[in-house]
């Protein structure tokens, strides 16, 4: 009897084309010229009729590797759909383990089917005649498990005078720039933060109208320009400035980038609808600080000037 015998099927799914690895221990010294591996659906008993497992095909099987008893080749002439024969010049076996890996085996089609393999060793070279040794192994044609999950789309965005990096909080919505002066700039800041799992990332745009009092306006800077006290100007940027001293650099682990028109320190502009920042991949949070600049000329008509701005974050899923 072959000891310590096993069959490992690499892919046990129905109809899979896969490798079968047989391992066993030979405990005898007999002349062996062939081995047969007969697959049966009914039982492992050697003298019983063998019911062929449906769908099994061994006729294209290859002997990919052998250890222990070696020198075998596939006997194509005597191999059938359910009986694989390997042959060599008859040689006396040694006590010890052997392993045979067969590739290109087509599994049976019955899911959850138990298949028995009757292993026989013969002195002949065609697996006919008396058996010198034998043993049976078993495998099961199993089904796979599918695991699934759904990740919903998200665009997380917040705006306020101050916001937490992860948008867990946002405070304030009103900036008082004070009394405008011809001698120095008036400034203020607000913040926004954003993250998304959109494969295309997101954009953040700013909409609104420049500082207005009735019919009187403070002109918006159409192109990035430096602060000029005594000249009526309105603009914003997204950097840490020193002339005037206002703003901070963007923070956060995200990969968003600033639009060029608003990314130069000490240069300000405003055009409604402009994109302030964007990311072109899914990105973690970035927090951006917007610096607001207002200068007034001596000729600026008196009044209470105000402006309302809307931030719009867009992701395309």
């Amino acid at each position: 009897m072959l000891l310590d015998r096993s069959l490992q099927v690499f892919d046990p799914r129905a109809n899979a084309v896969t490798s079968h690895t047989f391992a066993f221990f030979i405990q005898s010294n007999n002349l062996v010229g062939s081995m047969a591996f007969e697959y049966c659906a009914n039982n492992p008993f050697f003298d019983d009729v063998c019911v062929v497992p449906t769908g099994l095909n061994l006729q294209s099987a290859s002997l990919d590797s052998e250890t222990g008893e070696t020198g075998f080749t596939v006997d194509a002439l005597n191999t059938t759909a359910n009986r694989l024969v390997i042959t060599r010049p008859p040689t006396v076996t040694n006590f010890g383990p052997s392993q045979f890996v067969f590739g290109n085996v087509v599994n049976p089609t019955g899911i959850n089917q138990t298949v028995y393999v009757r292993i026989t060793l013969h002195g002949s070279t065609d697996a006919s005649g008396p058996r010198t040794d034998q043993g049976a192994v078993v495998f099961v044609v199993s089904r796979a498990l599918d695991t699934r999950a759904y990740v919903p789309p998200h665009l997380t965005f917040c705006a306020g005078i101050t916001v937490a990096l992860d948008c867990s909080s946002a405070t304030g919505f009103y900036i008082n720039l004070g009394e405008l002066s011809k001698n120095s700039a008036n400034t203020g800041t607000s913040q926004y933060a954003a993250a998304t799992n959109d494969l295309s990332g997101y954009t953040v745009s700013l909409y609104g109208v420049t500082m207005t009092s009735g019919t009187k306006t403070i002109p918006a800077l159409a192109s990035p320009s430096a602060s000029m006290p005594g000249t009526s100007q309105f603009g914003v940027n997204l950097r840490d400035n020193n002339v005037p001293d206002v703003g901070t650099e963007p923070t956060g682990p995200g990969t968003a980038s600033l639009a060029s028109g608003y990314a130069v320190p000490n240069s300000f502009k405003f055009t409604s609808g402009d994109i302030l920042s964007s990311a072109n991949l899914p990105t973690d949070f970035n927090r951006v600080t917007i610096s607001y600049l207002v200068n007034a000329s001596p000729a600026q008509p008196p009044g209470i000037y105000n402006a309302t701005f809307t931030f719009v974050a867009v992701a395309t899923f």
Binding site: V140, S142, L145, T147, L199, P282, D284
Partner: protein, 445 residues
């Protein structure tokens, strides 16, 4: 084996004596010879309660024989020599066609029921007094003190006899007890019987057995039965899909009835095995490759790597080393740090009846691999974390359980309750993610 001769043999002798009496009345001329024959049969008192026990009756086998007997009523003699003559017959001429072979040397032992403990140290094989060659054992000792009937069941044993080759053949050891050391003064005797016997051979075929199945179940512990066997598991109508649910960065979603991320498919994965393999069974799995990866992923998407990138449509696999240098190593999950993995929360014994199977006390045969042991103890859960080998191929086949290292390696319907877990990162792209895993049971007979 032993055969006791009490009244039966005596009754036969009495019967024979009656017939002889009749012959005497009928034919006076035969009297002297018959009288001599009767005198020879009853030359000494008969040993009561005598028996011969052998260690085997198998033909051709070597065996030991023990003779045990009591002493006749009123016995008050020394016993310094004994003969054991092996014959085909209990009386008369001795032939030896059915008798065992007597060894030239033997180990002689006696029990403690002798009045005098002096050993019968001299063993000799001789020809039988009534015929035969080398068919008689003679033992002797120097011990002039009397043996008495104060003790019973004296025995003496000999080793190394060999049964002859035919079964069902009887033979009769004739026991003669002498008070002197020279086998001269007969003080008691008796005959016992033994026989060779045909051996009975019982054949039975026990076929190699391996039942293995995977599926899903709402069972979420180690005691509730999954059904009688694999047939029940595969026929429960629940299919073979585990849904982890809606996964985001706010929590870790773990499959099963307590999963907060899913309300419909609240199932665990199940792998049940039954085998009579003497050397046990191992259970492995591999992740089916899709576009080159076995990660939990959007079908068809290309994964950048196994562990790092959080912007591709592939969940990073659970491996504490993040390099598979030592296979897939178990790690705990933190909400918002993208990961996917699996663990075996417990070994369900609810369908096992052939032996004591109790997960909570460690009494089970199918032992989880360390990297897929949910709690590291015999408690049901996932506190130790999860692992996942996404490599596929021969490299990515990972072991999750084995009975090969257990003292009892056969398994009856022990089932692994598998839990799948995932947590998304902030940037884990939206989409429907799937992975298929295949499980392999390999039994060594």
């Amino acid at each position: 084996m032993s055969t006791k001769y009490k009244k039966t043999l005596l009754e036969r002798f009495r019967t024979a004596a009656l017939w002889v009496k009749a012959l005497i009345l009928a034919g006076m001329g035969a009297i002297p010879m018959l009288s001599a024959s009767l005198s020879r049969v009853y030359a000494a008192p008969v040993l009561p309660n005598r028996e011969a026990r052998v260690t085997t009756t198998q033909t051709g086998a070597t065996f030991n024989i023990t003779f045990e007997f009591d002493l006749p009523t009123g016995f008050a003699n020394s016993i310094q020599s004994m003969e054991f003559e092996f014959c085909d017959q209990p009386l008369g001429t001795c032939t030896t066609t059915q008798t065992p072979t007597i060894p030239a040397a033997s180990t002689v032992t006696q029990n403690g029921n002798w009045t005098n403990a002096t050993a019968f140290g001299t063993y000799t094989r001789t020809n039988g007094d009534n015929g035969g060659t080398n068919n008689q054992i003679q033992v002797s000792r120097t011990q002039a003190a009397n043996e008495t009937t104060a003790t019973t069941d004296r025995s003496i044993s000999f080793t190394g006899l060999t049964n002859q080759s035919d079964p069902n053949e009887s033979y009769y050891p004739r026991i003669r007890i002498y008070s002197d050391t020279g086998f001269t003064t007969l003080v008691a005797e008796g005959v016992v019987a033994q026989s060779t016997a045909r051996q009975l051979t019982v054949n039975a075929r026990v076929q190699e057995r391996l039942d293995f199945c995977t599926g899903v179940s709402a069972v979420d512990d180690a005691t509730t039965t999954l059904g009688a066997d694999c047939a029940a598991v595969t026929a429960n109508g629940l299919g073979n899909t585990i849904d982890i649910g809606v996964v985001d960065a706010s929590q870790v979603c773990v499959s099963g009835p307590s999963n907060p991320c899913e309300t419909d498919n609240t199932y665990n994965g199940v792998a049940m095995v039954r085998t009579n393999a003497f050397n046990g069974v191992v259970i492995d799995y591999f992740a089916e490759q899709n576009a080159g990866s076995g990660q939990l992923k959007v079908a068809g998407a290309t994964c950048t790597d196994f562990f790092t990138t959080v912007t591709d449509q592939c969940f990073n696999a659970a491996d504490s080393n993040s390099d598979y240098s030592n296979g897939a190593n178990q790690q705990t999950f933190s909400a918002g740090t993208e990961r996917f993995g699996m663990t075996v929360a417990g070994v369900n014994c609810g369908s096992t009846s052939a032996y004591t199977c109790d997960f909570s006390t460690g009494s089970y045969n199918l032992v989880r691999d360390t990297e897929y042991d949910g709690t590291g103890a015999n408690t049901f859960g996932t506190s130790q974390g999860f692992a996942w080998d996404a490599r596929g191929g021969t490299t990515g086949v990972d072991r999750i359980a084995s009975s090969a290292g257990s003292s009892v390696k056969v398994v009856e319907d022990e089932a692994l309750i598998m839990k799948f877990a995932a947590t998304a990162g902030v940037t884990t792209p939206t989409g429907s993610y799937t992975v298929t895993s295949t499980y392999i049971a390999t039994a060594t007979f």
